[in-house]
Symmetry: C2
Subunit: 364 residues, 2 copies
């Protein structure tokens, strides 16, 4: 098994491989299609942690009983501007995509719409759904609660929230949509693991030791899995990150009547398929004036931000979404780079599932 | 003029003093009432920077031509679930209160409502409006753009956003509403000024020097007025704070067709009365299930968070709103402490305006 280097694959090939694996594991076609689309989109956008690298993890979740292969998501409650969906334990990308599209249809009629989902699972990158709505003309806010606790509230020494993502997208005119997608932790724990591999220290403010104090030791931080809320330390206002994580838990968990991360204590509760909740809010900018004036004004704002005098002339100021769109442009042209270790893992999964392995031909 | 110590005053007396001054300056009764209510509420909640301490600043804004004393806020556009208000250059608390109450009325009918305001001014504490909605049963998100640039986008060396506040409140059952109210900067510049008075250094990550690099010199930071976005430094993910500030500018500025802080270049543009925008989004938790289950679940979440094992047993983990409600309980009982320098300033303003000065009798 090679552990260094990577090879590049066309997105279409990755999508076919993802569909082959998910189908081989027994998921039905609609669920497979929604999940593969969202995973490969994350790969294209440079969000490697939320792309096909999730497939080995999802295989583990499947073994853990966290997915319902026979899931049939359905609308439980509905008004002209809102809906509550039961994900029925599906791969989260499916109910999340259904919820986004339902919110788009409602917002076309009413100007604004809120759709919540419970009984779901990990839905990949929150920004995928926000951008999907923005590309159809809507301002979108997306939140999700998360299965595994990670974020330690300021002053505490155990994790109470998952990394609780919040995404926000808005349609521009000349520019691609404004696209903001953040975990409410300071950094993803994956960056701590990477530092450990490289033998580097991490900045104080990324992770905590078992005593709840900041540590710069990535092995310690990876073992405790105690992530700080955005802000990092109390003196840099980590209480704001704690508040944002709680806001996401209220939107993606309490509103949706999902299983709340802070209350996920009993293993029986935790292992029940589909305890996760999501929240999708869409707004038509035409409610407040011609949609064109919104898009023009957002273009102007984006231009002004990019024109901010930079500290380093070689590093212009970026607007949310710029790094992801740059990655997409590059990867659509040159292919998505997958680490060789991931390619090997996917080969093993394909052999085990008895489905075709399609990633022999990657480019260096 | 005394510069140390403080005296305490009943909230009702502060409100009467605020009304006397604002009336004396020529503002009409409805505008005066809305502004005084919001200012004194901030004093009660311990948000001293957004209470009656604003009156001397508002006097300066008035001289600068930033308020329209004859303002008549009006609804410019409306649907069953949305409205756009023109604040017409009023003190921001008035159109913001009108917008909140209009959103409550709409959300009672439709389950969710979005109201934007343009042509407004500084509206005080964003949490005031979010809590007002939560106390009537709604989940509320409030955002505002801000006149004076303060936040430097990550990698830049000039400010592009104001401190762009974001507030979020939600109704609980046994507990008072969850109440989260943050500036999207790491800290308020007022804390930098306080450190300068005390001769203390500030943490790296609060403010920047003229070169855009972090400084621990509060005098330098106060002179540049270059605040960092939440996160503080690039290695602690200040790009997330930048994204949040931009999200607030889109909600409170672009949606509302307000004057955007990043575009506020020409002095003529900047001094036009009422270029500020606000945004109020309300959701009925009953859209997704019985409202009681929402409130019960939020109670449980609040209980679980407060029960988080603390680093220091003497400092329990706090939930958003806890410090403000504790301040309110104490100040309703003992009075609101005003620094003597502020009392002196208010005396000067009262004399100048020829209105009664009501703060002679404060308690030490």
């Amino acid at each position: 098994v090679s552990t260094a280097g990577f090879r590049r694959f066309p997105a279409a090939v990755l999508a076919e491989q993802a569909r082959a694996l998910l189908s081989g594991w027994g998921f039905p076609p609609e669920m497979v299609a929604a999940a593969a689309d969202a995973l490969v989109d994350a790969d294209l956008m440079g969000i490697d942690s939320h792309g096909t690298a999730l497939l080995p993890i999802y295989r583990q979740f499947l073994d853990d009983g966290r997915f319902n292969k026979a899931a049939a998501p359905r609308v439980e409650r509905e008004t002209p501007a809102s809906a509550l969906l039961d994900g029925d334990g599906a791969l989260g990308q499916w109910p999340a995509t259904l919820a986004t599209d339902l919110a788009v249809a409602k917002a076309r009629q009413t100007g604004l719409a809120a759709v919540a989902v419970h009984g779901s699972n990990h839905f990949g990158a929150a920004g995928f759904y926000a951008r999907r709505a923005a590309e159809q003309g809507f301002v979108a806010l997306v939140a999700s609660n998360v299965f595994s606790p990670a974020i330690v509230p300021t002053g505490g020494r155990i994790a109470r929230f998952g990394t609780n993502p919040l995404a926000f997208a808005a349609p521009a005119g000349r520019h691609r949509p404004f696209l903001f997608d953040m975990a409410t932790s300071t950094v993803a724990l994956g960056r701590v693991k990477k530092a450990a591999w490289r033998g580097e220290r991490v900045p104080f403010g990324w992770v905590l030791g078992p005593d709840g104090q900041p540590t710069d030791d990535p092995d310690l931080g990876w073992s405790t899995r105690l992530a700080t809320p955005l802000g990092g330390t109390p003196e840099l206002s980590s209480h704001k990150g704690t508040g944002l994580a709680a806001m996401v838990e209220i939107l993606g968990g309490v509103l949706a009547r999902a299983t709340l991360a802070p209350l996920r204590q009993a293993p029986s509760e935790g292992r029940r398929p589909g305890g996760i909740g999501h929240f999708f809010l869409l707004l038509d900018p035409g409610l407040f004036g011609p949609p064109e004036t919104f898009r023009d004004l957002l273009d102007e704002m984006i231009d002004a931000l990019r024109a901010t005098p930079p500290i380093d002339p070689a590093q212009p100021v970026l607007v949310a979404g710029d790094p992801e769109y740059a990655a997409r442009d590059e990867r659509e042209r040159a292919g998505v780079p997958l680490p060789n270790a991931l390619v090997d893992a996917l080969r093993g999964l394909a052999e085990e599932a008895g489905v075709p392995f399609l990633l022999e031909e990657g480019k260096q």
